[in-house]
Symmetry: D2
Subunit: 366 residues, 4 copies
C-alpha cells in the first residue's frame, strides 16, 4: 500500500529516486494566505545538502527547489504545493556493482524481496537523498508554525561514535560541519572523522532536536499521540534505530518521586517528560533524541549473496557519508516540524483554536 | 481530529473510559473465514489483567470480552468485529481528589487544556485500562498471523529500576509476576517491589518484545516503514519514553564494519538491524525494546496547581501499579502483532501474496 | 479493506448484523463540550424505526440507544462516543430459505462471492437495519451543526412509483407514514401501498433532502468536493441507484444563460446549483434527490441459483418493507448531516473558523 | 483539509493550476512490475485534449506527459509515479475581468469565500484543466486492470441538450467530435453546436460510461461501497449534477418483480442493477450515467457582484467549451477506472486474490 505520504491533514507526498530525473513532494492541506517563495525553503535544503564539507558525501547537488503550484502572487492559496528538485549529478557508474548483489546493512535485499524489482542507481528510492523533499516540506511547516505560535526548531549532534558532544552554545551549530552545539569538541571530531575516512569505515551518531514555543494541547490520543507520531517520524529517518522523548531510556532507573514534573503557578518546574503527557503537548519544550546507525556503505569487504543466492563479497566505493548522522540534524528538525504542523491542524479541527501556553499556566519555567 | 484508530487496513477503533460502563474496540478489515471465539482472546486479556499479584494494581476486573459482531457460526465474516468489555469495579471515590488538581506526570493537565473538559474517574480516557481493547485486538491479529505465516510474539521485562534481568529461559515468563525470562532474578525483584510499595514510590522498567516467523517484505517506505510504525505503536504505549529496534542506541558507538549484518546462502549471519532494513522486514526476528517511565501515581506529596492556577500538593492514594512496566509486556506484544498484521495486508494490497522467508534465503541463521 | 467508517474527521465506524446481539457505531472526533444524552438521539431513531405503520416492515425493534463512552456528566469529552443498540426481535426462521440460494436483487450473491462466507440471518451485514447507527450518529452531527451554525435538515418523499408527491407543506412530513410534505396525496399513497402489499410486489421511490443554514466554504476540492461526498453518502444508502444535486439531470437540456445562478448584493437570485459551486458550499440551501429501487424481497417467485450454481426459484416471505424508500428519508437527512459535519471540521482544520453566510453576501435570497 | 487525493490504496494526488507552470499528479501504491511509459498515457490525454475540434475550447495545449519517478527500465517499481504536464498556452489576459467579480455558475465566489484568496488565471485550481492528471492516472489504472482481469472501459455522450443520442455503434465514438456511439446524429449535433456557439450560450449533456470484464466482489460495505465510490468520483467531475447506476432514476417507477435481476447457471439474465448489488460488483458490466451542466462561461451578460459586494454584470469572453460535457467522456472513463483499481487493491488486502467471473457463474449473459 501507498506509504509515501506523511501526515493526515498537512499531507506531504514524496516522490522520486536518487538518480532519476527529479525528486520532490506535494504538500496538500497547507493553510491559505501565507507568504511563500523558494527563498523560504532553499536555506533548509542547503543545510542538508551534500558536498558541504569533506566529512560528507562529495556528490554535488544544488538541490534547487522550484514551487510548481499552490502559490499565487507570493501567497499560498490552499491548493496543493508541488515542490520539485531536479537531480543533476547522477554518476550511475558508482553503483554498478550493486545491481546484482545485496549490500549488507542496506535496503537492497528487502526492496528486491518486497517488490521483485528495484532501482539500484544510487540506492534508488531508499537513498537518503529522498530526505530532501521532507526537509523542503518541513520548511513550509516551520514558517507557518513560527508565524502562528512562535514555535521554533533546533537540533544538534550529541554523540559521534564514542565521543559525547555537550550542548554548550546553540549559536555554534551552523559554524562547524557536525551541527555541534559548541566548539570544544570540533577539533576532536575533525580528527576522528579524518581517521575514519582513511580506514574506509563508518560510525554511528546521536542527534538531539527540540521545539520551543509549542502550543499546549497537541496530540490525538488514544493512538495518535504526539509522542507516538514523533517516534514514527524519527524512526522513519534513514538509519535511525532508536528514539527517546524527554529522559528516554533514563526513565528505566528513575523513581516516580523523581520523574514527575511538578507544576507551579509559573509553569512546570522541570521537564523530564520532554513536553508530552498522556500523548498531548504540555506547552513545554519538546525534547527528542535519535540514534543513527553507521553508514552501511563502507570500503571494508563484507560477505553477502547475489540475486541467485550465491555467496559473494561486497565493498562499496563511490561517494558516501562516513557518518550519515552528520546530515541528519536538519532532517530531524524538519520531521519534528511536520509532526507539530499536522497536529496543530488536527487539534484545530476537533477543538477549535489552538491554545498557546499563556499565564497563568505559562509552560516551561525550568 | 479522531486519533483512536490504530492501523490503516486492519483498523482497530478503541472506545471507553476507565470508569464508564464499558470499554472495547471495533476491528474493521479482518480477513474472512478465520475461526474466532472469545476463547481466542480471553487468555491475552488475562495476562494483562489487574489484580494478578501483589505487585500490580488491586483493582478487580474480570475483563471478560464479548464478541458483538463480525463472527457467524464461529468464523469471521469480513464485517467489523466489535469487542466489548464491561467495567465492573469502578470505585470512583478513589479518584475524587484529582478532579480539581493536576497530578504531576499524569495527563490531567494536558487533557484539560486540550479538551476543556475531562473525565477524571480513574484517569478517564488516559487510563492504562484502555490498553485492554488493544490487547484483545492483538489477539485476533496474532491468531491470523500464526495461521498464515507461523508468526509468533513473545516479550519479557529486561530491567526493573537498576536491576538488569537477563533473558535466560523464555518458558519462565508466565511463571513469575514480572514477565522475567528466567528465574534467577525473581527473588530480588520481589524484594525490590515490596520495598518500593512500602515507600509509596514507583519505578521505571524496560521491556523487550520480539516476533519470530516474520514474512519478508513488510513495510511501506518512504514514510510508513515497518520500523516507523513499530516506533509509533510502542511510543504510544502508556508511559513509554523510548523505543529501540535491533541494537538501538548501541549503534551510536558502532562501526559500519561491525554493524552491517552479512548475508549468506543460509540467511543472515547476525541481526544487529533487528529485522528491518530500509523500513522493510528482512524475514529475521523483529527485536524491539521499550523504556517505561515510573508510575506517576505515588503516595509522596508533589507540588502542583489546581484548575484556577493556584499552588497545591498532590498525593495519590488508591489502587495503582507501582511499576506500570510490569503489565506492559503483553500490551507490547499485542502492539507488535497489530503493526505486522496491518503491514501484511498493506503488502498484499500492492504486491500480492506475502512471501515467507524460504530458502535459498531462509531468514535468520544467527 | 475496512470500509465501515464514514467520514475523515468526524469518523463514524459502524458495526453489527441484523440478527446478531447488537448493532452500533463509534464516533471519533466529536468536538468536546457539547451536551449530549440518549434523548438527543432516540427521536431520530424512532423516525426510522420499523413497525410504525402497516406500510413498513412489521419487525418490532425498540431501537433503544445506549451511550457507552465519550460523555461525562452530560457533555462530550472529545473521546470516542460508542452508541449501542441491542437487537431484540430476531426471528431467524424468517430467513432460513436464503442460506443456500441467492435472492435476486439482494446482496446475497455478492457477499458470498466476496467473502466466501455470509451471515444470512436477516440479510446479515447488508440489511437496511444497519442504517440505524448511521441515523444515530447523524443525530449527534445535527445537534452540533444546529448549535454552531443554525444548520438544519429536512427531507420528504417526492415520488412513490408513478405518483409524484409535490412539496406543499413541510410541517406534514411527520404526520403521515410516507414523509410526504403535504396531505393532498396521502390517501392515494395509502391505497397504492395497500394494493401493492396485497400483490406481494414492491416499488421504488424518490427522496428529497435539504439543508438550510449551511456555512459557506465547505468542501475540499480537487476530489473531496462537497457534492462528491454527498453523492458518496447518498449512493451508499441501501437501494439507492441515483443522486441529483440542484437541478440534477434537468441540467442536460438547460442553457448556460438559464442555469447559472446570478449573484446580487442580497445574495443569490436562484439556486439551480443546489448550494454547491466548484465543489464548495455557497451558503445557499443544499438540495439533493435520491432514487431508491424497489425492495428486492417480494413474494413473487423469481429465477435464481443456489450455491452449487443450480437453478432454483426464490420467493421471499417474512417481514419486509414493500417500499424501502419510505423509511429512507430520515436516513438521507442523517447522511447529509454527517457529510456537512465532516466538512465543517475539515474546513476548520485548514482555513480556521467557518464563515457563516452573513451580509453583504447573505446566502440564498430566491 | 487536504482533499486532492483520490483513492485509498491506489492514491492519486493532483496538483497544479490552469495557468501555473505545470499540472500533474503523484500515484502512490501502483503494483510493481508493470511495463509503463509515456506512450501508455499520452493517447488518453489526447482524447481529452482541448483544441481538437471547433466545438471545444481553442486553447492549444500539447498536454505532453513526463514520468518523473517510479519507473525503472520501463517497469513500475512500486514507488510513487509522478506524472508532470507542463502548461504552455496560458493567455492570462483572457481572464483579467474575473479577478474582481464572481462569474455566475463558477467557483469564483466559493473559492474566495473558502480560502480568502484565489488564483483567477484561467479558473486557477477549479479549471477543468485539472482533469488532465486524473485522465493520466486513469490510463495507468486501465493498463493494470486490463492486464490483470481483462477489464475495459468505454464511454459516450447520450444526450446533448434536448438531443438524445442512441448507442448504435461503439466503434464510432472516436470518429466524431462528440464521443457519440453512432453516426446518425452527428450532423444534427454539429449544426446544434454551431448555432449555440454563435448565440454565445452553452448547453448541458449526459454521459454514459461502462466497464466490462469486471471482477466480482469489489466494494467495501458498509460505507465504501463500489457504487458509493463511483458516485463520489462522477459527481466530482467538473460540472456534474447527477449520477445514475444501472437503471438510475428509472427505478422510482419500477416494481420489484421487474427490477431484480434473475440469476441463471449461465449468469445474470439482465442488468437493471448496473453491476452492483449491496455495494459489491456482481461481475456484470458496470453502467453509469452522469449529468453535466451547461458551461458557466458564456457571452451573455449576467448579474453578479464584485468582491466589495457591489452589483455588476459579467460576460465571459475568451476560449471556452460551449458544452463541457463533450470532453467529459474520457474523464469519466478514467474516473471509473480509478475507482475499480482502488477497489481491486482493497479487496486483495482483506480477501486475497480477486475472483474473476468464471463459470459456473459467468457474469452477465443478457
Amino acid at each position: 500500500m501507498s506509504g509515501s505520504t506523511f501526515g493526515t491533514l498537512f499531507r506531504v507526498t514524496n516522490f522520486g529516486e536518487s538518480h532519476g530525473p527529479a525528486i520532490g513532494c506535494v504538500i496538500d492541506g497547507c493553510p491559505p494566505g501565507m507568504a511563500l517563495s523558494e527563498a523560504d525553503i532553499q536555506p533548509e535544503l542547503d543545510r542538508r545538502r551534500p558536498g558541504t564539507s569533506r566529512h560528507v558525501t562529495q556528490r554535488n547537488e544544488a538541490d534547487a527547489v522550484e514551487i510548481l503550484s499552490g502559490v499565487y502572487e507570493g501567497q499560498t492559496t490552499g491548493a496543493p504545493i508541488c515542490l520539485l528538485i531536479r537531480n543533476t549529478d547522477q554518476r550511475s557508474k558508482d553503483y554498478g556493482n550493486i545491481l546484482d548483489t545485496f549490500r549488507p546493512g542496506h535496503a537492497d535485499y528487502t526492496y528486491w524481496r518486497k517488490y521483485g524489482i528495484r532501482d539500484p542507481r544510487g540506492g534508488g528510492r531508499s537513498s537518503a537523498r529522498l530526505t530532501a523533499p521532507t526537509v523542503a516540506a518541513g520548511a513550509v511547516a516551520r514558517k507557518w508554525l513560527k508565524a502562528a505560535y512562535g514555535t521554533e526548531f533546533r537540533g544538534c549532534m550529541t554523540a559521534l561514535g564514542e565521543i559525547e558532544i555537550p550542548i554548550e552554545d546553540w549559536s555554534q551549530t551552523g559554524l562547524n560541519p557536525f551541527f555541534a552545539a559548541g566548539s570544544s569538541k570540533v577539533a576532536e571530531l575533525e580528527a576522528y572523522m579524518d581517521a575514519l575516512r582513511k580506514s574506509g569505515d563508518s560510525v554511528g551518531a546521536r542527534i538531539y532536536v527540540e521545539a520551543t514555543g509549542v502550543p499546549v494541547g497537541l496530540g490525538e490520543p488514544l493512538y495518535d499521540r504526539l509522542d507516538a507520531d514523533i517516534a514514527y517520524a524519527m524512526m522513519g529517518l534513514n538509519a535511525a534505530k532508536g528514539v527517546e522523548i524527554g529522559d528516554g531510556f533514563g526513565v528505566v532507573a528513575q523513581r516516580g518521586s523523581e520523574h514527575g514534573d511538578e507544576l507551579t503557578p509559573e509553569g512546570f518546574a522541570s521537564n523530564h517528560a520532554g513536553g508530552v503527557l498522556g500523548g498531548i503537548s504540555t506547552g513545554q519544550d519538546l525534547r527528542v533524541s535519535v540514534a543513527i546507525k553507521p553508514t552501511s556503505s563502507i570500503r571494508t569487504a563484507k560477505a553477502s549473496i547475489d540475486r541467485a543466492g550465491q555467496p559473494t563479497q561486497v565493498e562499496t566505493f563511490g561517494r558516501h557519508d562516513p557518518c550519515v548522522g552528520i546530515r541528519a540534524t536538519p532532517i530531524a528538525e524538519a520531521l519534528l516540524a511536520l509532526v507539530l504542523m499536522d497536529h496543530a491542524l488536527r487539534h484545530r479541527a476537533q477543538c477549535g483554536d489552538v491554545q498557546l501556553s499563556q499565564p497563568p499556566i505559562p509552560g516551561q519555567r525550568g
